[in-house]
Symmetry: C2
Subunit: 207 residues, 2 copies
């Protein structure tokens, strides 16, 4: 298999999520144009991205959703189970903690962390909860690969540094702070203001 | 000004967010390569996107952050204040309600809605809170353009239909449900599973 460029991997991951939703709605096939509209890319880009997969070419026809999903999942290794941990058990952190849907996607929230012993004792969860100072040892012992930062923004960089020291492979930053990590660590930011900005810019363009 | 393609608008919005964070860190200039790494695009794409702006060409040099930010903001009309409303006052909804950072970006959460009168009476907020049946009248009277859906997934499509009837221009769907809206309504999904998937795929590729 060819090495897939990083932006294509990101789009293919999004295509996978879309296919899953379409499949749940009982839809069987989808065109590159429909995919493109949903993930905000041209249909040429969608076809190019799909061409990186090990799937045999289906030029000129709609994609079979189950098949395309299988190839993306295989080639991007999405079927491999992965453990994540949550740092910061405030409103967004506990909402993520309570979310049941990760498991069917192969993701397990394997631990939660907070600075407040009170919070750790009060929150009712299936997930084991710990104080921050246990972060490094638990990431190591449980084989956790991804850290989701939901702390106040002031704490985000410090937590990211701790995660990097614990040899985390990927970080999802749900705070508004800008977080720096070494080149080898994957990082993505979930930024509500960013989404408002995109929707606003698209509204303006439509007029 | 040329009409900017939609994927370029989305990337330029993300570039704006990045420039803002860099500016806050005291950084003055940035290269297209650095931008590309942060928004997950090639530097050729970044330069092409920036070429759509009304900004004079600065071939071969780093971009002045303040200047680039000004042109993106102007051309994408990001400086225009906009009102949004929140539907669903659970954990994520109330976290967004309490977030102070939207205002400095020109966004105002002008109303919150829930089905539970109890919640509306219990939640302490500067934002005026209402029962769902008031959604249409309040969107109209306050000039709200964007709806942020934070309800349980089962309710998301019904709320989206109500928002569309109220002539909303854009929707941010924070639920795991797939929501359909007419062509003229902008919609973006905030999907935590999707972010986990992207980070996982990128971790796999790195190995």
């Amino acid at each position: 298999m060819k090495k897939i460029p990083l932006p294509a991997i990101e789009r293919l991951s999004n295509i996978y999520g879309l296919l899953e939703k379409l499949e749940k709605s009982g839809i069987k096939t989808v065109s590159s144009t429909q995919i493109g509209k949903n993930i905000n890319a041209t249909n040429a880009t969608v076809r190019k991205d799909i061409s990186y997969l090990s799937m045999p070419n289906v030029a000129g026809r709609d994609y079979d959703i189950a098949k395309l999903k299988k190839y993306i999942g295989q080639d991007l290794k999405l079927f491999q189970p992965r453990k994540a941990c949550l740092i910061g058990l405030g409103r967004i952190g506990t909402a993520i903690l309570a979310y049941e849907g990760f498991k069917e996607e192969g993701f397990e929230i394997a631990a939660g962390f907070d600075v407040s012993l009170n919070k750790i004792e009060m929150i009712v969860s299936q997930v084991s909860l710990h104080l921050i100072h246990e972060l490094e040892s638990i990431i190591g012992s449980k084989g956790i690969e991804i850290g989701i930062i939901c702390t106040p923004p002031e704490a985000a960089q410090d937590i990211a540094n701790k995660l990097v020291r614990a040899k985390i492979k990927g970080i999802i930053n749900c705070t508004t702070a800008m977080v720096s990590v070494p080149e080898e660590v994957i990082i993505r930011n979930i930024d509500y203001t960013g989404y408002l900005r995109i929707v606003s810019a698209l509204i303006s363009q439509k007029k």
